[in-house]
């Protein structure tokens, strides 16, 4: 069947739908209570205060993707970032199954939208590629600035730090099990992809446990543009193994808990050439202690470790396919957070605490036959003190917060050289304000504003040149952090029990923007300076219709206008912010059909975007639409036992669109899987 006809069939499925099919709400009460939690019933969100809050008391717009929706969402690249692909404002740009998400949010590039794992920062570029969705209870997409309660991520790799100016996305871990369940899944699909997983959860007294193991291998397919550095001469195979354990122990009450989460991911393969192997190890650890020690007081302590160990082999393509060097990047990031919450007055919540982060970063390079040499070595640490007060005055919610953040970097080695500048420190005061007015049941207006900052990268401060005659980046010890202010204004309207409509406008500005300018052509030298500013303004419109049958229809549209000002460099003065599309649109539905069949179809449109601010050299991308679909059929159901067949049809219209850095989407692909749970 031609993809377009298949698309027609899928979009025509609503005409067959009716409600008399088994759904979660059709379960008998005893089963219903097993699959729902207090948080689900209460529709709670935690990201705005670090404690569960009902949406009508939250000044920010927080979109929640729950576990049942997560199971329906297509993730063609097996990347958790793809769960947010069909939400407004989000540009998710997963480059391949082996590569990071290089997206944007609210008109700003990937550095200004942070990710959290249960409230502790993770890498918004990399970690969504390794984490397992089975560990996630729900995803909270917090729109607008969140820099008072959450620090930035001090990653020294890729493009450096990440900060929650435009928003933050919180992957909330499952933390309590009421019923034992075991699941086995296996499937196969395009590109010789095979995947299998085993998951079990249970409870022993006060201990809830979850264990999971997942294996995936694929012959994959060329995913680069023709003639680029991603050109392949053989099948670019990969294997990915993931295992996690999640333990939660209730000490004396169900809400006084200690939780441990640990995941190890091992990914290896080659990029389609004999000497372009890669081998990555990721370890993610979260510890949490929760104690509501009095009716009005709640203490939380969280500590995490994120270990990244990435090894790449390099050839001399196109001149030669022979092995040239082996590259190893190691980074360990340890975030910690201590938060005390005090409920007081009629309905007020005071949140105060301290967080910290410690980072070790090193890269080694080994040429063929040679010994490894250290290329980069740096450490970083940060401490933040924060306080936020939220009060309710009848129909008004008022929120205000302050943060004091101190950051220190030490650079032992940059680009193989001892840098001229060995250390840098910054201190910043941040603020946040928000208000919400509940005009009447279901209709609310809200506004938020908050500041943030982004430290320069190590190479921008310390430089990479060994001498004044060498090529590379010149040091700039006086470089200031980029400072930003995020603002939003919106209306949340629950028009009826089934229909919700949201409208949100945003304005994000970056001052002291760091731009890299050419200083000399021979030797080739650049220097980063605080010479610019950037501005992204736009609006998002969301509509969601969820009739009681369990079916959902949605559509959203985002329009953004962005502009970079750089008086020093005319070529980029007035350009659009890179990686931020002018338009994003999504539409889709998820239906319960007769015969225990469910169908989900998602359409995603991306407008024009660029990979750089330099108008002379930037490349244009976007202007494409993609349709993904998922069909699920329950083959057998007896009590808690269920056998389910899933068919994923991704990129139905076979759009092999270009992405930055010479990546290309491989187009139509399919996957069929069988899931047994009991």
């Amino acid at each position: 069947m031609k993809p377009h006809r298949l698309a027609l069939l899928l979009f025509g499925l609503p005409a067959l739908s009716w409600a008399d099919t088994p759904t979660l709400e059709n379960l008998p009460l005893a089963g219903f209570v097993d699959v729902t939690s207090l948080e689900q019933l209460g529709n709670l969100v935690v990201t705005d205060t670090k404690l569960g809050q009902t949406p009508d008391s939250v000044t920010q717009q927080i979109l929640v993707l729950r576990s049942d929706e997560i199971e329906r969402l297509p993730t063609p690249n097996r990347n958790l970032a793809e769960l947010m692909r069909h939400t407004s404002g989000q540009f998710v740009n997963v480059l391949s199954r082996n590569d990071a998400n290089w997206g944007a949010y609210a008109g700003l590039g990937p550095k200004y939208n942070s990710y959290l794992l249960d409230g502790l920062p993770i890498d918004s570029f990399v970690d969504a590629m390794s984490l397992d969705s089975a560990a996630i209870e729900r995803v909270e997409v917090h729109k607008g600035p969140a820099s008072v309660l959450y620090s930035g991520y001090l990653s020294m790799d890729f493009v450096g730090n990440e900060t929650p100016l435009a928003g933050t996305t919180n992957f909330v871990l499952r933390n309590r099990v009421d019923e034992a369940q075991t699941r086995f899944a296996a499937g196969a699909g395009s590109y010789g992809t095979f995947a299998g997983s085993a998951y079990t959860q249970g409870r022993s007294g006060a201990l809830s446990y979850m264990l999971s193991a997942r294996h995936e291998r694929s012959d994959y397919t060329p995913y680069g543009t023709r003639g680029s550095w991603l050109t392949t001469v053989q099948t670019p195979r990969y294997e990915k193994d993931r295992a996690f354990t999640n333990l939660s122990y209730a000490l004396d009450r169900p809400d006084h808990t200690v939780s441990l989460f640990y995941q190890r991911t091992f990914q290896q393969g080659n990029m389609g050439r004999p000497n372009r192997d890669f081998e990555h190890h990721y370890d993610t650890f979260n510890f949490a202690y929760n104690n509501p020690f009095a009716t009005d007081w709640h203490l939380q302590f969280k500590y995490g470790e994120r270990r990244y160990d990435r090894r790449f082999a390099n050839d001399a393509f196109p001149a030669s396919l022979a092995l040239v060097s082996l590259e190893n990047t190691r980074q360990t990031i340890r975030p910690a957070d201590l938060t005390l919450s005090h409920r007081h007055g009629r309905d007020a919540l005071l949140t105060l605490g301290v967080d910290a982060q410690w980072v070790d970063y090193a890269t080694d390079l080994r040429s063929v036959g040679g010994a490894p040499t250290r290329e980069n070595q740096a450490t970083a640490r940060s401490t933040g003190y924060f306080v936020q007060e939220k009060i309710r005055l009848d129909d008004w919610i008022l929120r205000g917060g302050l943060r004091r953040n101190m950051l220190h970097n030490d650079y032992a080695l940059l680009g193989g050289n001892t840098p001229e500048v060995r250390a840098a420190s910054w201190s910043k005061n941040l603020w946040s304000l928000g208000t919400r007015y509940n005009l009447h049941t279901g209709l609310a207006f809200y506004a938020n504003a908050g500041s943030s900052f982004m430290a320069p990268t190590a190479k921008q401060i310390g430089g990479t040149v060994s001498s004044l005659q060498a090529s590379g980046e010149l040091p700039n010890p006086n470089l200031k952090p980029e400072s930003g202010i995020g603002r939003d204004l919106g209306v949340a309207w629950q028009a009826s029990r089934d229909l919700a409509i949201d409208l949100r406008a945003f304005l994000n500005t970056i001052g002291d923007a760091i731009v890299t300018n050419i200083v000399s052509a021979a030797p080739s030298q650049v220097r980063s300076v605080n010479a610019g500013s950037a501005r992204a303004a736009g609006y998002e419109v969301d509509a969601r219709y969820s009739p009681a049958s369990g079916s959902t229809f949605f559509a959203n549209f985002t329009r953004t206008h962005s502009r970079v000002s750089d008086p020093v460099n005319a070529a980029q003065n007035g350009s659009a912010i890179p990686f931020a599309p002018t338009t994003l649109a999504n539409a889709g539905f998820s239906l319960r059909l007769p015969g225990e069949l469910s169908a989900s179809t998602y359409y995603h449109w991306v407008g024009r975007y660029y990979d750089s601010t330099d108008r002379d050299s930037r490349q244009a991308y976007g202007h494409f639409g993609v349709i993904n679909a998922r069909l699920q059929k329950t083959l057998d159901r007896q009590g808690s036992q269920e056998v389910r067949l899933t068919l994923d049809l991704n990129n139905l219209t076979d759009r092999q669109y270009r992405m930055p850095f010479d990546f290309r989407d491989p187009g139509f692909n399919a996957f069929v899987g069988l899931d047994v749970r009991y």
Partner: protein, 186 residues
């Protein structure tokens, strides 16, 4: 170098799905809106009954009987009819015992769900005073009228309201987690 899309390549339409697909989507949405059975009341009762079960987990009694936790059901509304399904479910490390109908001594109940007319609650309230009985009802304003846990609708969802003073008088400890999601009433 400035590499944009190849010259002459037609720009894809904003909506590359054929118009019949769009039309069918529109028709189906209209059809759904018109013919979907009105099952909201049934679901609402089930959500309230599930709340009762989950709320129990987040309340501490000064002492609990060792064999079972007793949930008494007074009245016969839609929620009362459902709660019987929870008999034997484990909660607070004990099986849940369901007593349909009000026992002669209601203070032997750890949880009392009050269904039906408001008059019954007015009669019951004095008999429970000073006893550790968690009272729950979906009567309008139940928590404001001296009950401990009530429900109220908001934006198409069922929400909890809790009377902390009534809980304190009953010597019950309400978890902060429960208070996070509830509206407290005086």
């Amino acid at each position: 170098m400035c590499a944009t899309e190849p010259a002459g390549r037609p720009r894809p339409a904003l909506w590359p799905v054929p118009w019949p697909a769009c039309l069918s989507l529109l028709l189906a949405a209209c059809l759904l809106a018109c013919v979907l059975p009105a099952r909201a009341a049934e679901l609402e009762a089930k959500v309230k009954a599930a709340y009762v079960f989950h709320v129990i987990k987040f309340v501490d009694w000064p002492a609990l009987p060792g064999d079972a936790l007793t949930l008494c059901i007074s009245g016969n509304d839609a929620v009362s009819a459902l709660l019987g399904d929870l008999a034997g479910k484990a909660v607070k490390e004990r099986p849940l015992r369901i007593l349909t109908g009000l026992p002669a001594d209601p203070t032997q109940c750890q949880v009392l769900y009050v269904g039906g007319p408001e008059r019954r609650w007015a009669e019951l309230q004095p008999r429970l005073r000073g006893h550790s009985v968690l009272t729950v009802s979906d009567q309008d304003g139940f928590a404001r009228n001296g009950g401990i846990v009530g429900f109220y609708p908001e934006a198409g969802r069922i929400r909890l309201e809790i009377n902390p003073e009534a809980a304190r008088q009953a010597n019950l400890r309400i978890s902060a987690k429960l208070l996070e999601l509830a509206r407290t009433v005086p």
